[in-house]
Structures are given as structure tokens and as C-alpha cells.
């Protein structure tokens, strides 16, 4: 039940981001300066952290969506629905840890100084 609630919450959140994201990308049709100015806000530490949240939400929605498809169409899906929830949780962690590292690398370096 909670996997279904989280599927809804992540879905609605991603939809609202998509709405804003098409609007900001449409600025390439206005001028390069306007686009670059707005995209600069995506590169700030706080928005950068929100991007990790966005990727985490999309990744959960995608993995749980595949799980829902398997429950619907795979004959053994309903029997393994709980096990599959554990599997997607582990896959989510395995992908998010290195993903978050690379996404936040630049922010860490600007906030705390370069390590290299």
C-alpha cells in the first residue's frame, strides 16, 4: 500500500517539475542569455540537492512501475510482489549512492574546496 502511495506522490511531483522544465527549456527560443541565466539557478547548491531528490523520485517511480507491470502481467508476479519491493529498494540504493556522488561532486567542491 505504501509503495502505491509513494508511486502517486513521486508521479505528481515529477509532473510539476516537468511542467516547469519545459517552460525553462523554451527560453532557448527567446535568447541564449535568458536561457543561460535561468539554467544558472540549476547549478546552485540548494537546487542541485533538489535535483538529487528529483532523480531519486523518478528512479523509484520507474523501478516500482516495472514492478507493477510484472505484478499485472507475470503469472508469478503477485506471489513475488513483496520480494520485488525489496529488490527495487536495493537497486535504488545501489544506483543512487554513486549517482548522488557524481551529481553533488561539484557542489561539495565549491562549498568545501577542491579535494584534488
Amino acid at each position: 500500500m505504501w509503495s502505491w502511495v509513494l508511486q502517486r506522490i513521486t508521479g505528481v511531483a515529477v509532473f510539476f517539475f516537468l511542467f516547469v522544465h519545459v517552460l525553462d527549456t523554451a527560453l532557448v527560443r527567446v535568447s541564449p542569455n535568458n536561457y543561460d541565466l535561468v539554467i544558472a539557478s540549476y547549478k546552485t547548491p540548494i537546487v542541485n540537492l533538489m535535483e538529487v531528490g528529483l532523480v531519486g523520485a523518478v528512479l523509484y517511480h520507474a523501478l516500482n512501475g516495472i514492478r507493477v507491470i510484472l505484478i499485472d502481467f507475470w503469472s508469478k508476479g503477485p506471489r513475488f510482489q513483496k520480494a520485488m519491493l525489496w529488490v527495487i529498494g536495493i537497486v535504488w540504493l545501489v544506483l543512487m549512492v554513486p549517482g548522488a556522488f557524481f551529481m553533488l561532486k561539484h557542489t561539495f567542491e565549491t562549498l568545501f574546496g577542491s579535494t584534488s
Binding site: 502517486r8 508521479g11 505528481v12 515529477v14 509532473f15 516537468l18 511542467f19 519545459v22 517552460l23 527549456t25 523554451a26 532557448v28 527560443r29 535568447s31 541564449p32 536561457y35 543561460d36 539554467i39 540549476y42 547549478k43 542541485n48 535535483e51 532523480v55 523518478v58 528512479l59 520507474a62 512501475g65 516495472i66 507493477v68 507491470i69 499485472d72 502481467f73 549517482g99 557524481f102 551529481m103 561532486k105 561539484h106
Partner: protein, 140 residues
Amino acid sequence: MSMVDKPTPAPNLPAPRSARNARRSNFELYSWLFMRISGIVLVFLVLGHLVIMNILDGGVQRINFAFVAGRWSSPFWQIWDLLMLWLAMLHGGNGLRTVINDYAERPGTRFWLRTLLYVAVIFIVALGTLVIFTFDPNIA
């Protein structure tokens, strides 16, 4: 005993049939199927987009107008983005339609929320499509 052997037929009863309105549409079935088919395609399109834009080669820090111009000089990425835009907006729009239908109980609220949703989806799909097709790398 004789009553079991010879039941009295009731007069003028219509023939048995399934409880189904002849004019019922299959829209909800097709939208359910669409969510699954578009979902599988979007797993590749959106996760690929996120890995390229946010993780590879410096991630979001390297994105600017020149980066977009470089990508959209290739029909491959134009088609990728166009397909992603349409599928994601229809998938997300249909998802929000389901959420509105589940939680908005007053008929007036349902009507206006759905109208707002449909206007937003049509606007974003039209705007995004226009931008992809009319992109000009040499804009002033």
C-alpha cells in the same frame, strides 16, 4: 415433487444477459494499457536523459545554450526529446487525471481541476514541440 418436475415458467421475462451497458467505452482499459506501455518506453528515455544531463561529464554544470544547440543539431536527440515530451506529458497527465478522479469529490471541483489539467497538458506539449521544431542555434 411434481412442483420440481414441472416448474411453471414466468411469463414475459427478458432473456438473461451480462450486466453491461451496450454503449460502455473501453477508454479506461486503454488508458491503463497506455500507462504500462508508455512507462516502459519512458524508463529508457527519461533515465537516459537524467544520466546524460545530471551525472555524465560534469552533469548540470556543463549545460548552457551552446550545449543544447549541439545536441539538437542531431535528429537523434530531437526525436528522443520529442518522444519523451509527448509520452511523459500524456503519461503524467493521465496519472493526474486518475488522482483528481480519486480525491476531488465535488463534481464542480472535478470538472475544473480536469479542465485546468487538460489545458496545461495541451499547452506544454504544444510549446515543447514548437521549441524543438523551430530551434535556431543562431538566434540573436
